[in-house]
Amino acid sequence: MINSKTDLSRRSFIKGIGATSIAVGTSAVFSESAEAKDVVKAPENVYESVLGDDVNCIYVKKGDFNGPKGPIGFENRQIAKSEITKEYNCDVAVVGGGISGLIATLKAAEEGAKVVLIEKMTEGRGAFECFGSVNSRTQREAGVKTDKAVLLGEMHRSASYRIGPDVVRTYVEKSGEATDFMEQMFKKGDKGFVIAPMPLRPKYPNTGAPVIDAECMFYNTPGLPKDVRFRSGHVGVYIIQDLTNTAKKHPNVTAKYSTPAAQLITDKSGRVTGVIAKEDGKYIQINAKKGVILATGGYDANPEMMKAYLRPEDYSSASWWNPCWGTTGDGHMMGLKVGAAMDPVPHAVMNFTFGSPESFHIPAVRTLRAMGLYAVVNDDGERFVREDAAFQSISNATNRQATFGKKSWLLFDDTMISKNKEIFDKAIAAFAQLKTKGWLFEANSAAELEAVMKMPKGNLVNTINKFNAFKKAGVDQDFNRDMEFAKEFDGKKYYALVCNSVILATVSGLIIDEHGRVLNSKGNVIEGLYAAGNASGDFFSGNYPRHIPGTSMGRAITFGYLSALHAVKGA
C-alpha cells in the first residue's frame, strides 16, 4: 500500500516522456517534464522502493557484488487471506533462530508464554566465539570491574554520536542480567557450556582507543574439542545447537525450521498481530497475542540490499566469511513495510582485515606473530595506514586502496614469523599453497620483492628503509603507529601476503527503544513489534567498532532477552 503512490507517480513520469515527444510546446507538457526531472528513474528493486514517496536516493557509482546470495523470505506483495492454509496461535512469535532469536524464545517460554519460533534455514546462524557483557555473575565473581562510563562513551564516539542514548545505555545496564539468563539456559542443555570472563588483552593500547574489560567467552567449557575452542566462529555453531535443542524440548515452544517469514500482519490500529510464513511451500499465519520479535540478523547475503544501503567500497572488493546465508534482511524489510524507522544510510558493516580473496586467510597464517608486526603496503609498495589501528580501520583503508584498483599486502620478513621452530615450519609449509594461488610472494630482499611484484622501482625499498628509520627513532612520521610494537625489517626472506577486507555481517537495522520495541518514523512505538540483534539498530554507525569488546553478540543476547521480557510482562 505504501508504494502505490510511488508507482503511480512513476507511471505518470513515463507517460510524461511520451507526451513530450508528441506535443512539444504546450505548457502542460512543460510542467510534466519539470516533474519528470525530479523522478530520475524507476526503482530497480523492492529495496529501493519500500520507503514509498518519502524516498531520496544518494547517488553513488555502482559497486560489484561478489558475495553469497541467501534465500529471501520477505514478500512485498499483498498475500491474500485465501492463500493462508493454516493458522497457529501463540503469545509470542520469534522470527529467526540465531542467538537473539533463541534467547528471546527461551526467555518468553520461561516466563510462561506460548512461543512459536520460525527459522528460514535448517540451522540458526552461529558465527561467534565470545560476546560483550557487563557485570554478569561470572564477571562479578571474578572481580571484573567494567568502567561503564568509558564503555558507554566509547560506544557513542564510535557511532559518531549518530545514535540515541537509550539502547546503548540499556545494553550497558542489562547485558549482565541477560548473560546470567543464558547461563541458566546452558544448565538445561547437554553440552555443559561454561561462561567465563575473557582475560583482558588490550589489542589497541596506544591508538587512542580505551581499554575496556567487558567481554565473556566459552573457552572454559570442558569437553569441547581443542580445535573448536579457539577457532573464531566455530564454538558458536555448537552453542546454537545446544540452545536450539533446549528450545525444541521446552513445553512452551513450537520450533519450525525451513520456514521463512514473508510479512507481518497488522490490525486496524497498526498493531502487529502476527506473521505470515511459508511452511512446506504453503502460507501459514502465526497469530501472536503479545508480540512478534524480529531476530532475523543482518543482510550480508542479500546482494540487492547490500547495494541499496551500504557504501559500494565496503563490499566491492571484499571477501565474505560467514557460512550461514539466511541473513537476507527479511526482518528489516518486514519492519519497513509496516512503517518502522531504520538506521540512516549508509549502514554500518562489520568488516575485518586478514582476508584472502575468498575468505579469511587460513589459521596457520592468520595466527602468526608476523600478523602483529607486519607493515601494510599497496600495489605501489607504499604504506597507507597505521598497522596497529583497529581492524575495521585497516579494512576501510584497504577498501580505499581497492577503489582505485590497488590491492593491499601484508609485508613481513622471516624474523617476524615465529621463534618457535614448529610454528615457523608450519607457516612456511602453508605458504607454498598461497604462492600457487598468487596470494603470497617471497623474495630474498626488498628490491627483489618489488621487482617480482612489478611495483614501481625503489618504492618498496624506500618504504622499508623509512619504516626501519621510524623504528629507530621511535616515531612513525607518516601514520603515527606505535613503533614500540613494531620490528625492523632485517631478515633473509621478505614476504607479501594479499590482504582483503572481509565482511562478517551488517549491523544497522530497525530503530528500537530500550525494551526492543520497534519505533516508527515519528519515534512512536509500533505496538506488538520487537527487533533484536543485527535486525535492530540505533547502536552503530559507520563501522562495527571492533575495538569495543563484543557489542554485536552482546546486544543480540541482551535485546533477545529484553524484548521477550517486555512482550510477555510489559514494562
Binding site: 553469497p68 534465500p71 534455514m121 546462524r125 604462492k435 598468487g438 617480482v452
Partner: protein, 105 residues
C-alpha cells in the same frame, strides 16, 4: 616460473587455452548438456527440473567429508552461489575448509 605475477598468470592461461583449442576444438565446445542449461541462471529454475532442495540434499549425502547441501551451517543455500548452470563454478566450502566433493559412486 617461481614467482608468477598476475599478469604472467593470465598470459599463461591464455596460452594454455589457445593450446587447448588447437589440440581439440570439439573438447571446448558446449556439450549437449551445456546447451540444455543455457539461460538457466536462477535457483528457482534449477529446482524446477532437479527437484526440491531437500531432494537434492539427499542425493549428495555421501559427497565427501560432509554434505554440501546440508552442512552444519544450515540451508537452504541458493544454487547459484556455487553452481553456474551445469558446472560447479565456486566451491564455497573450500574457501574455509579442505573440501573436495568425492565423485559419485
Amino acid at each position: 616460473m617461481k614467482y608468477l605475477t598476475n599478469r604472467k598468470l593470465s598470459l599463461a592461461t591464455i596460452l594454455l587455452f589457445s593450446a587447448m583449442s588447437v589440440i581439440g576444438f570439439s573438447a571446448n565446445a558446449d556439450s549437449s548438456i551445456d546447451k540444455m542449461h543455457k539461460g538457466y541462471d536462477k535457483a528457482e529454475q534449477c529446482l524446477g527440473c532437479h527437484g526440491s532442495y531437500e531432494e537434492n540434499a539427499k542425493k549428495t549425502a555421501n559427497l565427501g567429508k560432509w554434505n554440501p547441501h546440508n552442512s552444519i551451517h544450515g540451508g537452504y543455500v541458493d544454487c547459484t552461489n556455487c553452481h553456474k548452470q551445469n558446472k560447479v563454478e565456486k566451491n564455497y566450502c573450500a574457501y574455509c575448509h579442505e573440501y573436495q566433493p568425492a565423485a559419485k559412486k
